[in-house]
Every structure is written in C-alpha cells, then in structure tokens.
C-alpha cells in the first residue's frame, strides 16, 4: 500500500475498497461507464462528510462570516507589514455593479439598483450576495467562465456553437452545485460525446500529451508542458513527470462505430492497451502522478479513473489549492498565486497562510465552490473601492483596492442590451446571431481579466455597430422611448441613464455637463440627445470595465 500523507480517511480507506475490484472480474471493466466506480466511492465519502458536519443554516452562515473575517485579517496583516493603506469600502453603487458582474455575469437593472440603494438593512450586502448566488444566472455565468478556462478562445462562430455543449454541461453541474471534486472526476472520466467534456477531449484530439498538459493546468494549476521536451532547468518537473501523467490518457480511442454528430464532440472508449513513449526514444513511461509516489496500479479501474481518484483525493496537494486560487482570482482579478493557473512551487503565493486556510476551509466544506465564492464575496477585501488611495500605488498582490477588470464579451454584450432595453421587434433568433457574432469578434486570448485585450477593429465594432448603435438609437431603444415622457426633468432622465449604465447617479459635475448638453438640443431632438449621452456612457471605460 502506498504511503500517502494527509488525512487518513480518504485514500487509505479507499484502497482496500478498490482492491475488491482488483481481485475479481471487476478489474476488466474497461467499458463499464467510467464514473460507476468513482460515483459509488464518492457517494460514500459524501456520506462521511455529511456525518461530520450536519447542515445548519445559521451555523453555516456563522462559519462563512468567521472565515471572511479571517481572510480580512490575513490581508490586513500583509498591508500593515508593507505599511500600505487599504482603500475605503466601495459605495453601494460600485458594490452592486461589481457583485452582479462577478456572480451573475451582468450589470443590474435600474430597478434592482434603486432597490438596493434604498435598502436600509445593515446586512443588505450579505442579502444581495446570497440572492445572486441563488439566481439561475449564477450557474450560467460560472459555466461561461469555466468554458473559457477550459477551451482556448476561438473567434470562429462555428466553433463557438460547439462550445455550447460543454457550457450546458457545466451549467448543469453548477446549478446543482455539485461537489467540485465530483465535477472534476466526471469531467476527467467522461465517455459520452453528448456530455460536454466530450468536446474538450475532441478539441485536444485525444492526444495524451495535450490532455495531460491541459488537465494539469486546469485542475491542478500545474504547467508541466515545458517538461514535455526536456527537464526544466528551474522547475522541479522532469520529463518523466510529464509523460507519466500523459500515460493516464494513453488508452483512449473513439468507438469504431462512432457517428460523427456535428463537429467536435465524440464518444470516448477506455481500452486496456496503449502506452506513451518519450519522443524520439523507445522509452515507455508508465503512469505516474506528478510529485507523488502513489502507486497508480493499486487504484484499479481505467487509467483515467486512476488519475481521477488521485486528483480528487484529500491528499492531493494541488487540486483544492487550484480551485481556491481560481475562485480568488475570479473575484479579485488576480490569484493569491498569479497567474492563477501557474501554481508551480517556484511561483509563490502572495499570502501563503491565506491560501492554506482557505484550502482547508474549502475541503472541510465538502468542496463547495458556491460557498467558497460566497465567503470571498463577504469579505471587506472584496468590498473595497477600486479607486486609487494615493499617487504611490500599492502593488496589486497586496489587494489594497479592488482590481479593475475587463468584462468578458458576453458580459459586455448583455450589458449593452440591458442599457438599451431593446424593443421586442428584434427576435430572439436575431439577437442570438448578433450576440454570437459580437462575442466571436471580441474574444480575448488573455485569461487575465486585468488586461483589456482588444484592438482597433473591435473598438470600431463597439462604437459603430450593433448592439450599441441599436441601444442608443431612439427608434430601437425602449429606454430612450420611455425617457422622452414629457413629465420627466432632464435631471431625472440623466439619473436613469447613469443608473442604467454605471449603477450610480451622476455626480454634480456630470449633471451640469449633460444638462447643458441636453438644453442645447432642439425639442424634437431630445430623444436623440439622450441617445448621444447613452452612447458616451456605453463607450466609456467606466461602463466597459468591472471596478
């Protein structure tokens, strides 16, 4: 039995159970649906966890609050150490816009913003976060975010449509709030092309080396691919680590009678033959887990099941840390380890203790990704303003103020739609087509959202093309139509436009400037002039960024 560190009750207890399969006919189950073995195991571990922590809502809330406070302490300690002053808390308007974008992927409507601004409850921030996480838009947004994390960006509309399969699958998992370890396991052992992960396997051409480098980046935060060709001079990873991991994907093939349905997705069969060799040598590399002496063969099942068991075991030092770092980066704009998907031992965390404690918390919560996001959202660190405190900027890794992040193309498109309140004579079909085109055009290559990764052709498309042109034209904008009602004052109109675009009312200077602008317009040009104001807001950095 392999000697493994860490919690005694997962791997070590699993191994005798696995050996049941090993001894009998169950070992020759290459074609049994891959998740059968693991599902039963995971059901069992879930039961154990459930026994550990009986669910009590107020207890859960107290635990979240306690962790949030702990996060703030650890961040503050680092700020004190560096003698850096943290930014003040964001205003309500800043906060609601940010929470909407991060948790449900779009900006709030005027009504939602108003209700929040008018709410006097002392815990209105907590209420808002809980409500957003329950909304169906939350899993949609997470699925969208994870699809972008898993697949290289594409600007090909055809490929974008194929990605929908993976996105739908992810959405299903996130809306059930499936345990994150189970999601990873199901992803890794997928066999059905109709499941979303089939598209991931297809996009990597079932090549062991590609699957190894992508799955380790996505789920472990390890970038082993540099070791593909040579032992990395500065890294602990050796060529054998890379090819040992690749060997877990060496026995995949498409079924012989595979009907190609559309492009991309296909069924996957786990065989019991097939090995990897180091390129340009005859050296066969047996499966091995990076940085671990655990014996894969003792785990039973298919190669991919063996890998999945190792990845989701509590002893795995990488998987939960990577998930925690992802969640932190998603909310804060950068990871505790940055870049968030490069957690090699050389790339040190800015707050090692924080990463450790959050990881422990995540494991103890039963790999609950939603709870993790909720906890981070409750911190003061998350609620800080993005405005600069002083001329001398604190380094971003101190999290002294909220990072300024780019909207994803999807977030941007939906935000344009929201401020425009397009009339219903634009059909859903047309809108979908338009949305896909826009998203394809604005696709970014960088996974770092603190970059604004776009160019001149895209800027032209935003300024002059749909959806902005539609949203800012009185003929097509429902909002502009509504605002032209004669009983409204210019101040009221500007208030609505600013709430719609920025989730805040205009400041005194803005009010003066835009009132003067509206007064210059001829009476019959009022709607058009309001459209001009909306155009200005829609093309501004304040609108196009999450801050």
């Amino acid at each position: 039995m392999p000697a493994l560190r860490g919690s005694p009750y997962l791997l070590v207890d699993l191994i005798p159970l696995l050996s049941i399969f090993r001894g009998g006919t169950m070992l020759r189950i290459a074609h049994v649906p891959a998740s059968c073995v693991l599902l039963s195991l995971l059901a069992w571990t879930t039961a154990l966890v459930a026994q550990d922590t009986p669910v009590d809502v107020s207890d859960e809330t107290a635990k979240m609050q306690a962790m949030a406070t702990r996060i703030d302490e650890l961040v503050q300690a680092r700020l004190d150490q560096e003698k850096v002053r943290a930014a003040p808390l964001a205003t309500d308007g800043e906060f609601i816009r940010r929470a909407y974008l991060d948790l449900v992927g779009s900006i709030p409507t005027v009504a939602q913003t108003r209700a929040y601004l008018d709410n006097d409850a002392p815990d209105k921030r907590q209420q808002l976060i809980a409500q957003l996480l329950k909304s169906p838009a939350h899993p949609t947004h997470l699925a969208n975010t994870w699809r972008a994390l898993v697949l290289e960006p594409s600007d090909d509309p055809q490929r974008l449509q194929n990605e929908q399969g993976l996105q739908l699958w992810l959405r299903g998992k996130f809306s059930e709030n499936v345990r994150y370890d189970r999601l990873v396991e199901e992803f890794l052992t997928a066999t059905q092309g109709s499941d979303g992960p089939g598209y991931f396997y297809a996009s990597q051409d079932l090549k062991p080396e590609l699957l190894a480098s992508e799955t380790s980046r996505i789920f472990l935060g390890l970038q082993l691919e540099c070791a593909q060709c040579h032992d990395h001079p500065f890294d602990r990873w050796k060529q054998h680590d890379f090819w040992g991991l690749a060997a877990f994907f060496a026995q995949l093939e498409r079924p012989a009678n595979d009907n190609i349905v559309g492009l991309g997705r296909f069924d996957i069969v786990d065989r019991d033959m097939g090995e990897v060799t180091i390129p340009e040598t005859d050296e066969v590399v047996p499966p091995a887990f990076p940085g671990s002496k655990a014996n894969y063969a003792s785990f039973g099942g298919t190669r991919r099941q063996q890998l999945a068991i190792w990845m989701v075991s509590r002893d795995n030092p990488f998987m939960p840390r990577r998930a925690v770092n992802w969640a932190w980066a998603h909310m804060m704009g950068r990871g505790i380890v940055h870049p968030a998907d490069d957690m090699s031992p050389q790339n040190l965390p800015s707050h090692p203790e924080l990463l450790d404690e959050l990881t422990r918390y995540f494991i103890q919560s039963g790999f609950d990704l939603r709870l993790l996001l909720q906890t981070i959202a409750l911190t003061d660190t998350y609620a800080r303003s993005s405005e600069a405190v002083s001329d001398s900027e604190a380094p971003p890794e101190l999290f002294a103020r909220m990072a300024v992040k780019s909207l994803t193309p999807e977030q941007l498109y939906d935000a344009f739609l929201k401020v425009g309140l397009l009339k219903s004579n634009v059909t859903m079909m047309q809108q979908d087509g338009q949305r896909n085109q826009f998203v394809a055009r604005l696709r970014t290559a960088s996974k770092d959202r603190t970059f604004f990764d776009t160019g001149m052709p895209q800027a032209l498309a935003v300024m002059n093309g749909p959806p902005v042109s539609t949203a800012t034209s009185p003929e097509t904008s429902g909002l502009l139509k509504a605002l032209s009602a004669p009983f409204l004052s210019d101040e009221q109109r500007l208030n609505v436009l600013f709430l719609a675009a920025y989730s805040r009312p205009p400041n005194a200077e803005e009010l003066m400037r835009y009132q003067a602008f509206l007064q210059q317009a001829e009476p019959e040009q009022q709607s058009a002039a309001l459209g001009d104001v909306l155009w200005v807001l829609a093309n501004s950095a304040e609108f196009m960024l999450n801050h």
Binding site: S406, A445, K447, F451, L545
Partner: protein
C-alpha cells in the same frame, strides 16, 4: 506642403488628432516622399488565392506533357523563365518575381490547408496559432499609427476564421477587414467594386457634427474615470478607443476611400474586388501599414477548379495579372517596391492530371508559391518538379521555410518569439530561409 517640418508619420498623427480638420490633398505628395526615406519601415502584401490555385496552369507549366492542359507558355523579360500566357503583365516584370516551384505540404483540405499556410502549423493542437499577418504585423507594427497594422481585404467568408486569426496574440492583433459595401458585385460584373472597412463609418443617422459632440463629452467622461482608477485595463481601453476614433477621422479613413483615385488608376487595377483591393493595399503601404492581405477567389473558393478548370483559371489569371502587375508598377513608381514584399499563395496546389470533368483536384505534394518585390531576388525559379509535375525533384520547400523566407525579406528575424497565454515563447517560424531567393 512640399517641405514638411516633422516626419510624415508624426504629422499624420497630429492632424488626425485634430477633430474636424479639413480633409487635405497632401497625401499623394507625402507618399512619393516616403519612398526615399532610408528609415522607412517595410510592408508586406499577401495575395491569398482562396481555393488553391493550379501550379501547372500558372507558374510551373508542363508543355508537351499530357498534364499540360490547354494554355500556352509565354516568354517573360527573364530569359528561360516562362509563365502562362494569361500573365501578360507579370511577364514584363518577371525580374521582380521569384517562383518557388518546390512547395510541398501535407494538408489537402481547404480549412486545414488555409490554417497551415497562414500559421505554418498543422491544425488540431491546443494552441491557436496566429496567422502570419498577425505575427508579422506585431513584429513590424507602429504603435503610433492611426491605421490598423493588419488589414485584410475581402477575406473568404468561409475560411476567414482560421485564415485571419490572431490566435494566442489576441484580438489586438486581429485584422481590420475591408469588405464589399452594399450588394457584392457579381463575378465578372462590369461595375467597380465598392470596398470599405467594417464599422469604420458612423452608423446611419449620425452625422459628423453629432459625432463631434459625442466625442467631446466622451473625453471628459474618460478622463474623470482614468484619474481615479489608474490601471492597465482602463488605460488600454482609453487608448484603443481613442485610436479607433482617430481612424474614423476623414484623414485616416481616406486611406480606404478609393474615390480619391482617378478612374484611370482604378481601372488599371481591374474593377473587381481583387483589383480594387490591390489598390487599397498600395494606399495602405503608402501610409506605412505593415501587413495587408488581399484575397482573390474568396466568394466560393474560386480557385477550387474540380470541374471546368481552364475557363475559370483563365478568368482568375487575368484578374490576378492585372491587379498584381499594376501593384508592382505603381509601387515601383513611388519608390515603395524595395520596401514592400508581396507573397502569392493559396492553401495547396492542384493535381497535375486533368480529371474526367476537365478539372484538377487538391494536391499538396508539389506546387508553387511566388515571392516578389522588396528583399527578393527576382527573375528566378527556385525548385523543380518532374516532367509530369507530380514530385518535387529539387529545392523542396516546406511552409515553415517559405514563411521564414518571407520574414527575412521584410527584415524580421523568423526566430522572433511571441508568447502564448502560458508564456511559452513561440517563434514566428522555425523554418530555414532560402537565401537564394533573398536579395
């Protein structure tokens, strides 16, 4: 206007910055002066032949062989170098052309071949490689320019995704596309093609005056946010949108306005989208745009002549000959040819044997690309195929070698590295340049 105090580029920049400046007539004079500037940046024009052009009926003919087909060869201004009879204009400038007859690749599918020829990489890997236009324009770019660094004219709707993708470089390096406005002119139509940049014009109903009012408000709005939220993302947004505004200004946008050219000049390029595209390419090169791609045969993969090869190839050859030879002549007249390299290629060649429907099928084993203009030792053929045109017998050239040679010709080291999202350094080309065709 003939003695300028600043560099031309700086002038263009400042002028473009002044909103509402009257459109001026100084650009042609400036362009002439630009050619003599020893520090002038180089440019590259890719003539993309969508569908895969036949080598045996263009630049590597097999007269007397059963595969030879119905076209005759014609002498060129280089003794011994012969082209198809339908390249009358190019034949007079063969001294500017290097014919690479030993191209050999391994992708016989349109989409895969298009990706391979544009990126140097076979498709299917985890990385989306940038097209050569994105890579080279990044390496050659001018950050101060009011014009985009990579412009694609009339790209094939079907394949433009893979052909023009900036891949891992990101949309900042994507091509600005010039397409046909209004209804596209039918193939062989006698009307002049009407080309324009996507979304460069103001949307319907917005005039210049309203746009100026919007921009004045916009500037204040931007400054207010930037002052309080200093950050890379906010600065990049402001800069890129400001550049787009500059590009919309009539002075910059006029680069794409072919109505500023005389009818005579426009007709000398040919009236179709390819000819007019070549004229746009010349106007952009005059303004230092580093990379322009012009497609011929984009509407339905024109060179994909599985049936009735000869009449189609004859028509396309004439269109190609007129656009390309006029481009060479005009660039030379403006002293711009020495700094402008033109690459002619498609996704693969076509079978030497003629099939049962008088067509030729896909053939990546042995085919032809052509380099011309700046940095190229013209007047030669490099590489050879056998009598039947089936195999390369001399000077076998891989796509990576072709791209490396193109890089050298435009003065960019092919080993220039760009970084993938995982911070892996990736060379523009890992091939070896062919010194014999470099000037």
């Amino acid at each position: 206007m003939n003695a300028l105090p600043h560099s031309r580029r700086r002038f263009l920049q400042t002028t473009a910055g002044l909103l509402g400046a009257a459109s001026c007539s100084w650009l042609p004079q400036l362009a002439t002066a630009a050619g003599s500037d020893p520090n002038r940046k180089r440019s590259c024009i890719l003539l993309w032949m969508a569908g895969g052009p036949t080598q045996t009926d263009t630049f590597d003919m097999k007269p007397g062989h059963a595969n030879g087909g119905e076209f005759k060869e014609t002498e060129t201004n280089v003794p011994g170098l012969r082209f198809s009879e339908h390249f009358a204009g190019l034949a007079k400038q063969a001294d500017k052309l290097a014919i690479l007859r030993g191209m050999s690749t391994r992708e016989g599918d349109h989409l895969r071949g298009t990706y391979l020829m544009h990126t140097g990489q076979r498709p299917g890997g985890p990385l989306n490689y940038p097209s050569i236009g994105a890579s080279l324009s990044k390496a050659m770019q001018d950050n101060q320019s009011t014009l985009p660094n990579y412009v694609a004219v009339n790209p094939s709707g079907l394949l433009s995704g893979s052909a023009l993708s900036p891949g891992f470089l990101g949309p900042r390096y994507a091509a600005a596309t010039v397409g046909t406005r209004g209804a596209p002119a039918a193939e062989g139509s006698d009307e002049m093609a009407d080309l324009g940049v996507d979304f460069l014009s103001l949307p319907p109903g917005i005039d210049t005056k309203r746009q100026e009012a919007r921009l004045a408000l916009w500037k204040d709005q931007q400054n207010q946010f930037l002052a309080r939220h200093p950050s890379g993302a906010a600065e990049a947004q402001a800069t890129i949108f400001q550049s787009a505004v500059k590009m919309m200004h009539p002075d910059a946008a006029s680069a794409f306005d072919l109505s500023q050219e005389s009818t005579e000049v426009r007709e000398s390029y040919g009236k179709g989208t390819f000819g007019q595209g070549c004229l746009i390419a010349r106007r952009l090169v005059e303004r230092d745009v580093p990379f322009v791609e012009v497609t011929l045969g984009g509407n339905g993969l024109g060179w994909d002549t599985h049936q009735g090869n000869f009449p189609t190839v004859e028509r396309l050859s004439k269109e190609l000959d007129q656009g390309w030879s006029t481009l060479l002549r005009e660039l030379a007249e403006r002293d711009l040819l020495e700094t402008t390299t033109i690459c002619w290629m498609g996704e693969f060649g076509r079978t030497p044997n003629i099939n049962g429907t008088a067509g030729r099928d896909h053939f990546p084993d042995a085919w032809t690309c052509v380099l011309s203009g700046g940095g190229i030792a013209g007047g030669q053929a490099y590489g050879k195929t056998d009598e039947a045109g089936r195999e390369v017998t001399e000077g076998k050239t891989e796509v990576q070698d072709l791209l490396a040679t193109l890089c050298r010709a435009v003065g960019v080291d092919p080993a220039t590295e760009h970084y993938s999202p995982q911070a892996r350094p990736i060379k523009i080309s890992e091939g070896t340049s062919i010194d014999q065709v470099l000037a």
